[in-house]
Point group: C2
Chain length 485, copies 2
């Protein structure tokens, strides 16, 4: 890692050059670099915490004068019990993940001796912009190295001293490894973001990790593809047949387990027929935990009648704007789904509401009826479409990715929780022995276009006919020079 004082253009250009070297390193070379970083950061704990204390002292003064929030100051503190160790463990966890690079996921025999393969490769150069938490830098550097991508890091100014100390340690650690120093660059100058966002000749992907405002400002200022999400307006739809206990359990988890998270529940849709049967128990539980309920007219009227007097006085009226709002707080908007003339009509009403108002992040349906769930999952155009579980499940760790690069509401490349795989793309390889395009087609040779097994299916198809074709191709390739010309 180099702590760069050079111009944004120089930083990006040198990252591009380093990315070429990093891209061809073996899995072992990249893993060894993570081992070296882990060891160096373990050893330098005192030095880094000392730098972190400087950031903290400055932040506390800003908090006293009201410029910074206390919660931000807390997030800065690397000395908090277990935090430094978690950061170190995170590096080892990334090291332990499957290598996302060099995997063949498509294989077609175009003709005898002419094999097409699609093989994963790094994207190139990433620009990752993040906010306060200083431990994120170790996580991001690990992800980039593991996936063979060079990365330019721009962190929040409140962590400057911590970042510099970590970068110095990582830089020294990389010297003993095959990973070039310029493959991980830390930019600390405040005004570097805008020029970096213009460098689409060197930077392939921008990942803003932070709030809504950061993501929006990145998106409008660059032509480089941006991976991430500005909003997380998640909904859950309670169908009339949903068991009361399941509804209470799931809605409480979705709203309360981390209200400031992007996968938390913001809008509850409830079937008209569930307003008096399922909703009262859900509302009572939420109110007892201090959640403000912003109800439309039918749900307010039903709850006013069903709840005890004290709870009923707490109910609020929803405005139209509430159904477009990501509260990130102990507030929930409740929308009634009219009965309509059929169960299908109410289902479509809920789907339309979600497609119109949600941020296409994660939405859930709670029902015992499989056909309703399937229709919901087909028709709701969100990254996550869940049945009988909490929207909070939308998370890379929970999905089993081992780590999370971010959550994407993009419609291309990667959608939903993004693991290491989201930092890879592919190249098309052809191995031939002299074939040319004009010998195929009308009057000429015919394409075989035979799909051959890859990965798991290759392993499983031990006796499969298709595997024989692949073996044959490889055997011929081994005798290759004789076959050429």
């Amino acid at each position: 890692m180099s702590l760069t004082n050079s111009s944004p253009t120089e930083a990006a250009r040198s990252a591009r050059i380093a990315s070429r070297k990093l891209a061809i390193l073996s899995t072992k070379d990249r893993n060894d670099a993570l081992t070296a970083i882990h060891a160096a950061l373990s050893e330098a704990k005192d030095v880094i915490l000392k730098a972190n204390a400087q950031d903290l002292a400055l932040a506390e003064r800003s908090a006293e004068s009201g410029e910074l929030s206390q919660s931000l100051v807390k997030r800065l503190d690397l000395g908090k019990k277990g935090k430094y160790e978690d950061m170190l463990q995170g590096i080892l966890n990334v090291r332990g993940l499957e290598d996302p690079i060099g995997k063949v996921d498509r294989r077609t025999l175009l003709d005898d001796g002419l094999l097409l393969e699609r093989k994963s490769s790094p994207i190139g150069v990433l620009l990752i912009i993040f906010e306060a938490r200083p431990e994120v830098i170790a996580n991001i550097a690990s992800l980039a190295i593991k996936s063979g991508n060079a990365v330019i890091l721009k962190g929040g100014k409140e962590s400057t001293e911590s970042f510099k100390a970590i970068a110095t340690v990582v830089s020294k650690a990389l010297e003993s490894t095959a990973v070039p120093n310029e493959a991980v660059q830390l930019v600390t100058t405040r005004d570097a973001i805008k020029p970096l966002l213009q460098l689409d000749q060197y930077i392939d992907l921008v990942i803003p990790r932070g709030g809504n405002e950061l993501v929006r400002s990145v998106k409008v200022n660059t032509q480089i593809p941006v991976l991430g999400h500005a909003d997380g307006l998640c909904s859950t739809y309670i169908r009339a047949d949903c068991p009361k206990d399941m509804a209470v359990r799931i809605v409480l988890d979705a709203k309360l387990s981390y209200p400031a998270a992007c996968n938390s529940l913001e809008t509850l849709l409830v079937d008209e027929d569930a307003l008096k049967t399922v909703l009262p128990a859900v509302a009572t539980a939420l109110l007892s935990k201090g959640v403000s309920l912003r109800c439309d007219a039918p749900s307010k009227s039903a709850l006013s009648a069903a709840l005890d007097k004290h709870d009923a006085t707490l109910l609020q009226d929803a405005s139209e704007q509430d159904f477009n709002t990501e509260f990130l707080d102990l507030i929930l908007a409740i929308k009634t789904v009219p009965k309509g003339s059929s169960p299908e009509e109410s289902l479509d009403f809920a789907i339309d509401h979600i497609n119109k108002h949600s941020s296409h992040h994660t939405d859930a349906i709670l029902t015992l009826e499989e056909s309703a769930a399937r229709h919901f999952q087909d028709a709701v155009d969100s990254a996550g479409v869940f049945w009988n579980t909490s929207t909070r499940m939308a998370d890379g760790q929970r999905f089993g990715f081992g780590t999370e690069v971010g959550i994407s509401t993009n419609k291309i490349h990667a959608r939903g929780p993004v693991g290491l795989e989201g930092l890879a793309i592919y190249r098309w390889r052809i191995d031939g022995n002299g074939q040319i395009s004009t010998e195929y087609g009308t009057g000429g040779k015919q394409w075989k276009h035979q799909s051959l097994p890859v990965g798991d299916s290759e392993r499983l198809a031990a006796n499969d006919e298709e595997l024989e074709v692949l073996r044959e191709f490889r055997a011929q390739k081994a005798k290759f020079p004789a076959g050429a010309s």
Copy 2:
């Protein structure tokens, strides 16, 4: 298809609404729509050719006054023998392709009764901007319907009457199908492109199909992701050990079979040791076909000595700019790869040259040495990295995709020749029965994160243990209501 006179915003908004309906249609519904379009266009051939004749007459007048090129006029002519029939056959070909929608390609058992699946879905709304050829409209409409995406089409103004006639026929044909009319919209007003490119709330992906200038102007004017390529500067590297016959055969195909294509050869790299052994035969063959050779000093000197007197006088000097130029013409730049101190050094020189100068479209190496080919394929950062074959193989039809949406030099989503699959993204589905996030983790339940077979491996793993787990999950789901809450 509607031939829209409404505002760009209205067109995009109605396409978005139609896309929701289209997205949930069955494979059969979408295929039936293609059958209907095919039948209607077959029947309306005379009407459409009459409209096309109007375009042609206007274009011919413009060609006489020098405003349009004769080659453009030729491309406009739908009446040319076989062209209309090819257009019709193209619709049936797309109909016959495998459905890219609804395929599960990732399946993880998160816990008992909690299954995560990644399932392909349409992207949403496409904006496709294309130039003269009127038959392209039928192809694009077919691809969009097949992949469940709504599409807004903006074609070149020279084909306006042909487009209108085709749109009217397609629109009427769609009335009898499940595909909503607004799912395919033709915009004919000239000034609609810029406003459409601003509508990122309705449009998910822009595909410019046309020249360099069109692609560049689209890219700088939108924040919507753009799929395509501006340039196709493809190279081929002849190693010293390459058999002469193979080099001649492949280079001629790559340069001559369609010089104006993006996958044609523009720069030839030649090992110093091949200048007198392999290159003279290649150069003689190219010169005899009228190709101008722009040579660097070592290659010119070697060829001047090796070629006959007449051919030698035809050799030209290369400027630095020639190695950054996509000629799209009978011109080839030749660059010598210095011998260096080892074969690895010369290989790296060629790789560096390509990474710096090529447009990351398709590059090839010609050698008998597998290790050199593998290093080239790992280190050259292009969509296509080919060994002993022609760069002209970079093509969706040749890859076996059945059709081609375009060729992408993007670093995310889709790279190289893009088939129908490039018009799909995915959603993450979870099927649960009441699980919540807070019951997992420290002190709670443990995640299973068991990867289960999908697609081919599901078929092949008929007796595999993992398949048993999947069968068990499905059996339990069938008895579902009892298991809930």
